[in-house]
Point group: D2
Chain length 333, copies 4
Amino acid sequence: MTLRFAILGAGRIGQVHARAVASTPGARLVAIADPVAAAAEKLRAAYGCDVRTIEQIEASDDVDAVVICTPTDTHADLIERFCRAGKAVFCEKPIDLSLPRVAACLKVVQETNGKLMVGFNRRFDPDFMAVKAAIDAGKVGAVEMVTITSRDPGAPPHDYITRSGGMFRDMTIHDFDMARWLLGEEVESVFASASVLTDAKIGELGDFDSANVILRTASGKQAIITNTRRASYGYDQRIEVLGSKGMAAAENHGENRIVLADADGFHSAPLLNFFMTRYVAAYANEIASFIAAVTEGAATPTTGEDGLRALALAEAALKSVAEGRLVKVSEVL
Amino acid sequence: MTLRFAILGAGRIGQVHARAVASTPGARLVAIADPVAAAAEKLRAAYGCDVRTIEQIEASDDVDAVVICTPTDTHADLIERFCRAGKAVFCEKPIDLSLPRVAACLKVVQETNGKLMVGFNRRFDPDFMAVKAAIDAGKVGAVEMVTITSRDPGAPPHDYITRSGGMFRDMTIHDFDMARWLLGEEVESVFASASVLTDAKIGELGDFDSANVILRTASGKQAIITNTRRASYGYDQRIEVLGSKGMAAAENHGENRIVLADADGFHSAPLLNFFMTRYVAAYANEIASFIAAVTEGAATPTTGEDGLRALALAEAALKSVAEGRLVKVSEVL
Amino acid sequence: MTLRFAILGAGRIGQVHARAVASTPGARLVAIADPVAAAAEKLRAAYGCDVRTIEQIEASDDVDAVVICTPTDTHADLIERFCRAGKAVFCEKPIDLSLPRVAACLKVVQETNGKLMVGFNRRFDPDFMAVKAAIDAGKVGAVEMVTITSRDPGAPPHDYITRSGGMFRDMTIHDFDMARWLLGEEVESVFASASVLTDAKIGELGDFDSANVILRTASGKQAIITNTRRASYGYDQRIEVLGSKGMAAAENHGENRIVLADADGFHSAPLLNFFMTRYVAAYANEIASFIAAVTEGAATPTTGEDGLRALALAEAALKSVAEGRLVKVSEVL
Amino acid sequence: MTLRFAILGAGRIGQVHARAVASTPGARLVAIADPVAAAAEKLRAAYGCDVRTIEQIEASDDVDAVVICTPTDTHADLIERFCRAGKAVFCEKPIDLSLPRVAACLKVVQETNGKLMVGFNRRFDPDFMAVKAAIDAGKVGAVEMVTITSRDPGAPPHDYITRSGGMFRDMTIHDFDMARWLLGEEVESVFASASVLTDAKIGELGDFDSANVILRTASGKQAIITNTRRASYGYDQRIEVLGSKGMAAAENHGENRIVLADADGFHSAPLLNFFMTRYVAAYANEIASFIAAVTEGAATPTTGEDGLRALALAEAALKSVAEGRLVKVSEVL
């Protein structure tokens, strides 16, 4: 069986998924939709697919699955529409910036018996998968502490900061998902400490650029997330899991693996600077996992519930910063 | 000028300092005091010094400086007595487990114009000094985030846990001092999250074995400390400082620098397992710095104030755990 | 302009090049030839190209370039035929196992004004390219010493060992090419020391499995190559260039980038075990370079001359082992 | 039993050994001899020992062992004199620059039943000892290939180059000893390729500054040594042993273990630049091993035979360079 795809949204991330679909055996890119004709045309030319409207795709018999890469505020509506249309849905995170809206959307998914996967690409990074496999194989024993260092090379444009819902909902949300995945227990409380240290304008927009967050489960396991919007040396993405028997850690990806030595010492390249190059394998694995889940009638590896819970942690972190106190997840969810 | 020393307390750390004094040009070990005759005799035999009582040392004309390595509950008294006796004083941390007692002791130091150095050995570790030098040289720009990973290979005996004042006052106190030193600003608030994950008995004794602490200064700089009493792979001591221009990080010290490769991959040795081997150079540098400060009439590089402020952070962290909330340092100091 | 390709030989390496051609913008895979119908059919199914005979391809108007992936003893003939047919030719190394045969072939290439690129894939590895770029940018100063550690995870089948012309012509030939490329001067003399240490049968076949080779240029620059057919920890591929100002070194590629720590120490994965996974980027860059050279009418980055000279170094090394002496390259070329 | 020492020669290496003797339990520094009064006086002042002439030491009842740190051309005579005087002898390498003279000296050692240890300090480096222990524990299986990278940060003064007997006898001799120790079999043949690449004056003095040497045992095991007199990034001292089961490698020692990251990438310190700081632990272990061997009446871990055989490899390498050919060790020994 070949899974026939439509991509909704031909922007940066839409292009990533189009390439992933086109190069995956067992998948075929049938159609692309984008209000910007040039963007859609570019993908059509590259992959020989149709350009259709969202309505046309909704009604298409030759489309089994859609990948939603449109702006965030359209996600929940599109998920509902395409679940109702009986298509399998892969949606970029977040489902919505509002928790109640997400909950309502997931109700529709459930009622329609829809198949939904939310795009937490990092779970599909080969190194992070190897860390998870080491945990699952008992190599670190009982998980006790998760440490996530997640630093962007630079802040996004100011207008994006407002639209994105802020750092916790836009950037840390990936770390929240990783923490849940690695802890293996739901988070019970959140304390977050956020600062504006790199760009005062970000503060004026009501956001921050530097934060540490402590997550804690009922049994006392903890995760610490450290974020910044500005790491001069590149896109810093490390995770470390300490357990009763040992530790598993994933190291960064440099631009290359050469070392230069001279009278000043040893020098190696900065880190890969862009999430699309750093996570190129993760994006490919992610779509392949979606295809496998749909084709085999299995559960998707990341679900609407995962999307909801990661967003709830972001909400709790925001509340923690706003009120300067420890916040129970039950206060927001 | 040769600085003439007496060591008070011939236990484990007293032996470390005796060796440091004996091997430092410009210093001479004159006397040792310990109620356990065998312990004192061992050092006498090794270094050819006298065995004297504390009272005799207090009255000795041939002793310029003392190193206090006695149990914690005697530190403040001895500091006061030897400052009054006009001797320069090096005292192991902490000055006392009670903040008011520490404050009272420091008042005596001030009144007697005493010279006091408190033993925060990590500031004298060559790698940590190199990190600090890099900050001072502007290599990381303005400091924004300090990350301290500080994990002991195993918990101390249960009876020591009670006597020591618990993990924050005994173990984390070093990390609090490092954080103050690296942040370059005083800490304003503390949030701590502590768990019992490695040994339930530790919990029954009123202590914990796993913790994350977020420290924050008035300008929003932050430090995160992550502790455990059990790291299977050795004594894990890392610091990382992120600034506007870059990052400086100090790596761990393994038992050796060899790598074995076989069909299972690449293998290297666990970390040095004991603070005395890991920080052997730090202990030597520390005493040398004390000797230099006394000899040159300069300020000691670590002071009673440093001892007070690190203890205040421990108190604030304890309060944070007890009350489940963010604590201002001004609440305890 | 789109460059239209035929692939001759649908074996392992033919599949690699087919994928590279199919995924390169500006190239199109038109036809595949292989006497084994199933092998050809597999590529036809995957890429939608024709299956043709070599004679048909020779006569095809819709083929601009061929990639020769057939057995070694057919290479020289095919190069000559397709140069005469006016096609651009990419040929896997070696051109032939006989130096005179290679020289005769290159004469035909020259007479037909043919465009020939020989497949030394390692020159297109991103890390090795970064080392070369560092040299060219003056970062190591004048090159003095090149050290190449090149170890296979396991020996090829015994029947391949005979067909391949032995370790120097089959395996070390890549290192000879790298050495020439990095030294930036032609090699004048060769000393090789070869042993049979991993499998006595290899010795019975007249080959060896372990060798060190010293190459030397007229100005006294040197390269050292160390080879084995059996590295338990994977495919070990390191280069190091020492110059007057410093050193540039390319490190190995592990199966992943995670580290596991436990009471036995720190553990990381073995090296990528297979040349096709280790050099996946190199193979893609290689074909892209060929396409660019043909399309732009530029010289190919690796030439028939490179193929000839690397083979000459292999011949000199063989003579050195056979006669137990230093051999001048002029003795064989 | 306390071993009572005299040091002959109060230069740089004499000072190293004096410190080692003075700080080793079970040893006592009794006397120092040096024709330069100021040099002897410096050690007397530091360690409270006597200053005596060599003749006086020879006749001293209170001296059990001597450490010979005088110029090379006096070594053999002093070994003979002190063996005849019944003292245990530790002598810095080399015993002499002439193989027959060494052989004659060792005959005297044998006839007098003398106890002689030759100073190959690297065998006592903790990392290299760990590599050897890994081999002995079977971790690498049967040893096949030894790779020694041994690069000095800078050439010695020109006048020393002549006196020292040249690079092979002065610098590579340590690598020859390491190769013998790690191979676990005697070397049968030597090929050396030497160049003058860093300083033409060194060539005018009849020496060279860059070399590669291949050593080979009867069973075909090989060692490769790569040397230069100028490594801009410090004192590069690596060994790597490949065997049937795996590899053991010892890594370099940097000036510290910090990493700086910025927009240009990651930076770490140059290597320790001086053999005395790099091998500080080795020198201490070496003297401790000598003391233990003498005290316990055991064989010394390095012997006159080791000194002879390492020198023979240097002679063979010199002959190989002079005659441009492979040299059997039996030609020189």
